[in-house]
Symmetry: C2
Subunit: 427 residues, 2 copies
């Protein structure tokens, strides 16, 4: 209960006297209580006006805001739950307005009994509640840029991921009620947006753990998250978690839709194309301190997010010396499968220029690659599933910038505007 025991409780690297907590040893006063009555009770609480800067990032290079992405401001957030208004968003034709009274979900095709469900039908059925991340396959797309862009922020690096508690009926229950015929090995899920977005899901996954979700952190889905009903497909890329779900056609073959041919396929270094790359690979990113922030010398708790579509986070390691040495970070808060996981790491910054990095290992043994390892495997015109280690350079002035190594492999080709990455690259 004294200064010594406090310091011992922090990282061993902490130097005595570095905490700078004490702003005045005497003569200070608390700031005063409010002199008058404050704001009265409201039916819905609103955010503090002084937090108005904490919004999602939307690139100003988008030709249209009907297709593109809004990035969750992960550089400003803590914990593993993303507030519903700040959950990342990726649309292909804007957000449709659906009257829940008109809503119907049709389940047809290779089934014994075609079914149609109202929203009330779905809500009466057995439900599950699960905390899952959803991540756009294009998350990390800025990492393909060569040389790395110095002004990258955590939000623009990996903000196409969010975490929420989802409530819905297991798709398994609907499929079993309809009676899927043995040849019905694929589920073609279609959205009610103007893009009529279609993705193909193996029936096996649909029977395993997919949710037909209607609640997000307790309340109805937000319109941009698929109101009134979306699929939640744990661990898999966001674009397969079809929003505004209007039907599921059980079929013998995948749809080979636009969203799984011209988009959301991956180009290997040797030019071959991988389709149906559903699972989101192990990721981690330090969110504090991160690009665009500025820190002062002294104690900092480094914080970040880790997740893996293969399962649960097993371990996160942090380097504060540009990768020369690594130490294990502490996981804080719930550690759940297919969910964002928060890691923290005590650090005492002496004011020298350095590079911070995190890397993670999931419970299946998958390891997050370095940027060099990653780019060796994938073509320079690939756009998806970038999960390399993100480095942050802390300057002697405390300014934090992108610290990714330039690989001197030539300029990347321009990336199409309006994709998941949501930004136009010039190379």
């Amino acid at each position: 209960m004294n200064r010594r025991s406090f310091l011992q409780g922090l990282a061993a690297a902490l130097a005595a006297g570095s905490l700078q907590l004490v702003r005045a040893q005497q003569g200070f006063k608390p700031f005063p209580p409010a002199p008058t009555l404050g704001t009265p009770l409201q039916p819905i609480g609103v955010r503090a006006a002084s937090e108005a800067h904490v919004v999602r990032y939307i690139s100003n290079t988008l030709p249209s805001r009907h297709t593109g992405a809004a990035f969750a401001p992960i550089g400003e957030l803590d914990g593993i739950i993303t507030p519903n208004g700040l959950h990342f968003e990726r649309d292909h034709a804007g957000v449709p307005t659906i009257d829940p009274k008109d809503y119907r979900l049709v389940l047809h095709g290779l089934v014994e009994r075609p079914l149609m469900f109202t929203l009330d039908d779905l809500m009466r059925l057995p439900s599950e509640n699960q905390v899952y991340f959803i991540e756009c396959a294009g998350n990390g797309q800025n990492g393909y840029r060569e040389p790395p862009e110095p002004t990258l922020t955590a939000t623009r690096s990996r903000g196409l991921v969010s975490g929420a508690e989802w409530t819905g009926v297991p798709l398994r229950i609907l499929l079993e009620e309809a009676g899927v015929k043995p040849e019905g090995r694929w589920l073609l899920a279609e959205g009610a947006d103007a893009a009529a977005w279609v993705r193909s899901i193996p029936t096996e996954k649909g029977l395993r753990d997919v949710l037909v979700a209607y609640k997000q952190n307790g309340e109805a889905l937000r319109p941009e998250q698929g109101y009134p009903v979306r699929l939640v497909v744990p661990g898999w890329e966001g674009s397969i978690q079809v929003k505004w779900l209007r039907r599921i056609l059980v079929a013998g073959e995948p749809a080979m839709s636009r969203g799984e041919t011209s988009e959301y396929t991956d180009v290997r270094a040797d030019g071959r194309i991988d389709a149906f790359t559903w699972v989101m690979e192990p990721q981690s990113i330090i969110t504090r301190p991160s690009g665009g922030q500025r820190i002062e010398p002294g104690f900092h708790q480094i914080r970040g997010l880790a997740w893996s579509g293969f399962g649960m986070v097993a371990r996160v390691e942090v380097s504060t010396d540009g990768g020369a040495s690594w130490r294990e970070a502490r996981l804080t808060g719930p550690v759940l499968p297919y969910a964002l996981t928060r890691f923290v790491f005590d650090w005492n910054w002496g004011g020298e220029e350095t590079v911070l990095m995190s890397r993670m290992v999931d419970d299946q043994g998958n390891v997050q690659p370095t940027r060099a390892e990653f780019l060796e495997r994938w073509a320079r015109n690939n756009r998806y599933h970038y999960n390399a280690i993100q480095a942050w350079r802390v300057g002697a002035d405390g300014r934090v910038q992108n610290g990714d190594p330039a690989l001197a492999v030539g300029a990347a080709p321009p990336v199409q505007a309006g994709g998941c990455g949501g930004e136009v690259f010039d190379g």
Copy 2:
């Protein structure tokens, strides 16, 4: 994968053909995709207009909305996380507006080194993320009413509770840094609202698990939740989790403040008064179906919330026959200490009038009492810590009403308007 296996997967009580899922076996069509581009990307997502009715309940009998409560609409929510805008609110003098740049937290009194922290100071320190419920001591106050009010809803019965992931620095770290003197057995926490709300917390609890919290579900606290900083005191009554925290005075004795003498004390049946009744007792409530809702015959998944300030939910049991028989409900989603826990129970309603109830047991063996057991212990003019079983009567017409038994012990005295319960009772 056929109808039989689906039905077998549900409760044994399910009668074949009762699901009423199939609205048309042929000739149906999905509703159409949007004919035009939808709403473009926005910096912050907003709720669907068709969900505008899902707001917090504020009694229209309050003399002033500066003191009173807004109830979380638990009858409409799922899961264990409450969206920040719908988290319940209890104020004593309205919500102060605090500029985070001006904010200071002072820690003084019986300490070796008085300390003052800016918001940045607090955020640099080690943080924890925990999912906790917060519950007003006045939650359930409507249950004291005799005879029970027929139109009670789940929201008005137990909506002064919410769940969130809180991020903050453990108070232990600040106390250890300040060096609490051996005689400093109490922490007097004071808010910066116009009420200058004060509560006394044993230093032992402060060293154990109290958070000095600045984030709620990832983002900055909402103003009505204490922006920029509040205490989160796991399992203890809400009024001790001081919002807009301006100082902690370490003292040898409790403050005996208004909030722990004239309010937030409990009157026993024999007239003796219990003060410092901090821990929130085991609670559970069925939220679906619940008072004010109407159901149709057939399958329903009964859903509800359970929690206990003593620890974790161990077991929830549900009765669908007015308490004659009880069966164990299933817990779905994360089951965490001091957190809301969601239970579900498959039920096939044949259309007969009946009464639904839930009761819970926590991992310390504490059992939620019946209304008769509860009211035997506490005086009729008690106002706090009501945690008796809530019964819902389902009429033959499917309408759900308060099913609490009238105990014929005479009318309760009027409860003061503007208390936690937020409503005026006429007896």
